[in-house]
Subunit: 201 residues, 2 copies
């Protein structure tokens, strides 16, 4: 039987796509529960055999890489939908509310990525959403809403680390996930807003 | 020849102690440069054979665990020497200045620990210094110097994550290590100080 690699409509192609989607979905679920989940666990959860999985992803690291990349693309899509115009402090609250939950859900996926991928790779995968957030903080500095005595790159890093800190607090049972959005927004606003008149030394 | 296990002054004991110290020192240096440094690399740097190393540490994970525990004990000793009395905001600046550098130096050691140890173990090793810092933030809240609308455990987490964020920024080349102390202190003060009159919404 001839291979019909050229046709997008080929049933073989459609099967492959469905398998890849099932594998990535299963990888995301499994790794978010157990960052050391094995390829075997993920194949079982996806309802495919290990041979099929390895036909699409050459190694566990390649699969973790694809899963993290997909999660960060979804994060970037969320980000794109947030209205970052208008008052920067109000926009920051919208930004936090629209994104912290996905980050919290991905806390163990981040651990999986840190264990399986070189740090450069993880950084590269974050590039696109981080650039968007950097532009937002630069804009807020230009509007004098956010402090300018510290570089925008540092404000981005503070944003990133505070959101991840909340994810850790939730998974350690020290914070209720219902309180996280407000704790993150309150802390970030205090940290990045331009100091007013006599508020601090 | 009879083993002289009972005597602290036995040359065999002294040799073992010296070897353990050399191995832990080498592990710290090697893992701080390369979080995936092998047991072989560490034995070579310590000037001992692999058999000797495995005589003291049963596995790579056990060696990483001992290295991290030693680093955190040193951190706790630094912490104990900081004067945390008086004005809590001024004490926070002293706390940052006395501790951030050691944390930054340990950035890759943290990566090594995250890769080699279960998260619970890493958390347990942080327990003692984190308890000390928690008491400091609780005291600052009681003095009304630090905000009380967020739990002290969250302020500790913010402290921890901001210091680690600076370590990441330095290792990514986005922050000069000479600027880190001030960036950390400024950001933390803004984040944790009790809001004054009209400083935020």
């Amino acid at each position: 039987m001839p291979r019909t690699q050229g046709s997008e409509r080929s049933p073989r192609r459609a099967d492959a796509r469905r398998n890849i989607e099932a594998i990535l979905g299963a990888a995301r679920q499994c790794l978010s529960r157990d960052p050391d989940a094995s390829v075997g666990d993920i194949a079982t959860a996806a309802g495919v055999g290990r041979v099929t999985l390895y036909g699409h992803f050459g190694s566990r690291a390649e699969l973790v890489d694809a899963t993290v990349t997909e999660a960060l693309n979804a994060f970037d899509t969320d980000l794109e939908a947030v209205d970052l115009t208008g008052d920067p402090s109000e926009a920051l609250v919208r930004l936090v509310n629209a994104t912290w939950q996905r980050t919290a859900e991905s806390a163990l996926l981040v651990v999986a990525a840190e264990r399986a991928l070189p740090p450069d790779r993880l950084l590269a995968a974050h590039q696109r959403p981080m650039k968007r957030i950097a532009e937002f903080f630069e804009h807020g500095q230009a509007q004098q809403a956010f402090r300018s005595d510290l570089p925008a790159s540092w404000l981005v890093s503070v944003f990133h680390s505070i959101v991840h800190a909340a994810a850790n607090e939730i998974s350690a049972g020290r914070m209720d996930s219902r309180d996280a959005g407000e704790a993150i927004a309150t802390t970030l606003l205090a940290a990045v807003q331009a100091p007013t008149g006599g508020s601090s030394k």
